[in-house]
Amino acid sequence: MIIQSIKMAWEAITSNKLRSFLTMLGIIIGVIALVVLVSLVNGATGAVTSEITALGNDMVTVNIRDDKGSPIRLEDLDEISALDAVHQTAPSGSVNFVAKHGYSDATVSLYGTTPAYYDIQGLDLKYGRFLKTADIDNASYVAVLSYSTADELFGKSDVVGESLTIGGRSFLIVGVLEEDDSLFAAMLGGYSVYAPFTVESRMADEPYVTSIAVSPAGDTDNTEAQVSDFMLARLHQDEDAFHIVNMSSISDAMSTVTGTLSLLLGGIAAISLLVGGIGIMNIMLVSVTERTKEIGIRKAIGAGKKSIMMQFLIEALMVSLMGCLLGLVFSWMILALVSAIAKTISFSMSLGVVVLAVGFASAIGLIFGLYPANKAANKHPIDALRYEG
């Protein structure tokens, strides 16, 4: 009987293709809205989250605004490193200069730091080496270039052993980092050069450490608390004298925002699916009236209430599910297109969202099909037979 009902529903749907398609359109658009919006948010969230992780998810940074007469020297960082919840500590002074090589020049951010910075930031070398303790101690004019900096100034990446001038000083290039094709690098778009803290601080005329990068040992929140206590003790309990940023709390906040966003967009999409459902109900009601005679004939030759009910319910369900299927196909195409355009982010349809769409569409087909189907099933055979439409 179910197979027969499906066959009948299929015949009814295909007998008026345009109308069936227009009825489905509400569901198609609803499903596209649901799947595309949720997938876009998920894709973007995934991309941003992985960027944050790449940036040093487990990193805590401290910026000192006012040293209260007890500035932090490079040696003092050992005190922070000695805290239980701290793994490594590195200064990260920065200053902008024009860097030159031959006829090419570029404004670069010169970061003054120590070897520990490499691990804290999770950097990757392509050529040469990173800064060494000896470089810091001797205040050597050596530099590690980001891939894009090397490319901009030299037109190539393997430039270890060459030299360049930064702010009028000559530096020996000892290393080049891996190319960073992440979204953040693209967004920030700057050229970075890493040099010994001792060199950078002299050039920036800022002998003290004003910015510190800390990698945690264990829980990041713990690290944040301990570093914060340390800074408070040092800076006369003035909370405004420094600013501490916990990268993992940024990504937590980020995921809360995107979670809310996908819920909101999903909600909007659900409303459009609901509107699609009302469209189905509307057309089904018209269809039931138009087919009153058919219902009468079927009842006269022996169709019971249940059979008629089943026939119309399956028809509504089928319209809804076909709309859902088409919507999924279109969504897939749209996501493929967006991914092709966005390049760096790939948006894919998760199984979860597909299941959600199919579940929602079925529920809508059933709920909005119920009333018309019931109306059809309850028609009196004599009245229905007499109906001339």
Partner: protein, 229 residues
């Protein structure tokens, strides 16, 4: 022809419609017996209660009072679902305006009552094809009703009525929408089916057509009486 067992036994059946506070006695104490293998015509002028009688015989409606026994089964205040099942098994309707489903082929139309009997595909096809063969439309199985003449459509409707081997064939003005020549062909088909043993009830307002039957029952203002031939 020997008188078979009674298929229809109606005793004192009444059906009253109330329209605007006024009672219309569409059937007023109607009693009749129709036996297996009979070909009976029910004759009466417009408004005499013919369709009302057919609806009750055909279990599309139930009487307000009186007793109706169909094929040994007393039809009382059954639920719609049960009445549908009885119609499906025991009644074969033939309507004035054919009442075929225009979207479906002749064969599918004939199959329809068998679908509701949950007969499986193979047997269903076979029985539907046999019914179409009986009405001489074997070669039109795949035609849609719109591709058939009026007479052919009525034959398909008769085949649909025959497909389930019903206890009676119930025809309400089956020739009303046909020209006289085609109408005669259909009546000839009914006689043929009667000769083959089917029980037929033919409802008409036309004396001429009624005369084709073996037995005539007259209905007037909801009251039934036998006409001696």
């Amino acid at each position: 022809m020997t008188a078979g067992k009674p298929i229809i036994t109606m005793t004192d059946v009444t059906k009253v419609y109330t329209v605007g506070g006024e009672e219309v006695r569409a059937l007023d104490g109607a009693s009749l017996v129709i036996r297996e293998g009979e070909f009976v015509s029910i004759l009466g002028p417009s408004g005499s209660g013919k369709s009302t009688l057919m609806n009750i015989i055909g279990c599309l409606d139930v009487a307000d009072s009186g007793e109706y026994i169909l094929d040994g089964q007393s039809i009382e205040q059954y639920s719609e679902e049960e009445l549908a099942r009885i119609r499906n098994k025991k009644i074969g309707f033939v309507f004035q305006n054919f009442n075929l489903l225009s979207r479906m082929s002749a064969l599918s139309n004939v199959e329809l009552p068998l679908i509701y009997q949950r007969v499986h595909l193979g047997e269903r096809r076979e029985r539907a094809a046999r019914a179409l063969e009986r009405v001489g439309l074997k070669d039109r199985s795949n035609h849609k009703p719109t591709e058939l003449s009026g007479g052919q459509q009525q034959r398909v409707a008769i085949a649909r009525a025959l497909a389930t081997d019903p206890a009676i064939l119930l025809a309400d003005e089956p020739t009303g929408n046909l020209d006289s020549k085609t109408g005669e062909d259909i009546l000839a088909l009914f006689r043929e089916l009667h000769d083959a043993g089917d029980t037929i009830v033919l409802i008409t307002h036309n004396e001429e057509i009624a005369r084709q039957a073996q037995r005539r029952i007259h209905i007037m203002d909801g009251r039934v009486s036998e006409v001696e031939s």
